[in-house]
């Protein structure tokens, strides 16, 4: 305990570990916590009349100010973080080519995730759609052994087929009160049109699941 009337002129001495209470009996750690939390202005009945507590608060708030300064700093996320994570995840899910065809100039392949992205973006243009997520679905014509092997490798694996066919699942969160069936049909229509136009797909199936409504 500090001596009665001892000024708080050496904060290091006050915090050196052996002193637990101020002369008034107040707990030093609790006062420091109060100051660190920025509540030094919210004094209790005792604190509002106690010179020891008020002096300690003043010192603790001063010494803690740089911590608050750092805590308030905006931390900019490196632009590379998201792409690096996405790249590692792509390797993990063993993404397979969905479309593949030969032209006179060579082979053209479009990844399953790109097909899913095209469908998702088309879905998001439909009024009443609040969120849309796409995935390439396991096609019934795909080699079952291939699909099983991929899923065993990783539960999120997507199985696709070669050629110009695609099956895409879209999960939709719609606006509450919308005509859900009409939304689903419009999502299918736009997704199929975009997949045909942008990815050169011929046979496209788009399964739409509206699994949430948002008010």
């Amino acid at each position: 305990m500090t001596d009665p009337g001892q000024p708080v002129d050496d904060i290091r001495q006050l915090l050196n570990g052996s002193t637990r209470h101020l002369a008034c009996g107040a707990d030093i750690d609790e006062l420091l916590e109060q100051a660190a939390d920025g509540h030094a202005g919210q004094l209790t009945e005792h604190q509002s009349h106690c010179a020891h507590c008020q002096a300690a608060f003043q010192e603790f708030s001063r010494v803690w100010e740089p911590v608050r300064l750092l805590a308030a700093e905006h931390v900019a996320v490196p632009a590379t973080l998201k792409t690096a994570v996405a790249s590692q995840i792509r390797k993990l899910i063993a993404d397979v080519w969905y479309t593949f065809h030969l032209s006179d100039a060579g082979a053209i392949s479009i990844a399953a995730r790109v097909v899913a992205t095209i469908a998702r973006e088309a879905a998001r243009t439909v009024p009443g759609v609040r969120a849309a997520f796409g995935r390439s679905a396991h096609n019934t014509t795909a080699d079952p052994a291939e699909g099983a092997a991929l899923r065993q490798h990783h539960p999120h694996a997507a199985a696709g087929v070669l050629g110009r066919t695609a099956v895409v699942d879209l999960a939709i969160a719609a606006e509450y009160g919308s005509q859900l069936e009409a939304i689903a049909r419009e999502v299918q229509r736009r997704a199929i049109a975009d997949l045909r136009a942008k990815a050169g797909l011929r046979d496209v199936t788009v399964n739409v699941t509206i699994d949430d409504v948002i008010t």
Binding site: P66, V75, P78, I89
Partner: protein, 180 residues
């Protein structure tokens, strides 16, 4: 297009294999992962590595995530564990480079230098704390979490968290007082 669905919805979709739902979670919480790692490690490069590892690990472990806690609490857990692993594997870093990020528009060069020195000193002081105190201090005073949340994240008890905070605050205050 940003989405206004909640994290729980995104987690469920990601668990079903909608990778873009997980990408949305990374968009929302990537900053948390990086920020916490940066405050705990005091080094941009290490923080980026840890944040990346944590976000990939979260994806891998997503099928086992039962949503008993929020996604962010779960991510805090993964980031702090990854950071702890890194701290125990290596000695404290010599380079505590935060200067690149901290200048403020409108400040005079002298003010910026003063500000950067202050921020560097706090970063040094936080990075010098023993890991349990460091984690408690960062989660409480930089992330604004309650003692109960910190206990959940660290797997400790609330009294243990309070004790780490008490000791961490004293050490940090003494170090900062010396620096001034």
């Amino acid at each position: 297009m940003g989405t206004d669905v909640d994290d729980g919805y995104l987690v469920r979709r990601a668990q079903e294999g909608y990778v873009d739902a997980y990408a949305e979670l990374v968009d929302r919480h990537g900053q948390l992962a990086y920020r916490v790692a940066l405050r705990l490690l005091g080094n941009h490069q290490d923080a980026e590595d840890v944040a990346q590892e944590a976000l990939v690990t979260a994806w891998q472990q997503l099928p086992r995530f039962k949503a008993r806690s929020s996604f962010s609490t779960w991510l805090y857990q993964i980031v702090t564990r990854k950071t702890l692993n890194r701290i125990t594997r290596s000695r404290p870093t010599e380079s505590l480079d935060l200067l690149g990020d901290v200048s403020k528009a409108g400040e005079e060069p002298g003010q910026q230098t003063e500000r950067n020195l202050t921020i560097d000193a706090v970063t040094d002081a936080v990075a010098a704390l023993p890991p349990p105190q460091r984690i408690a201090i960062v989660l409480r005073h930089f992330e604004g979490l309650s003692n109960a949340e910190i206990a959940r994240i660290t797997g400790g008890t609330i009294p243990a968290v309070r004790s780490h905070l008490f000791r961490g605050r004293r050490t940090l205050s003494q170090t900062l007082e010396q620096w001034r």
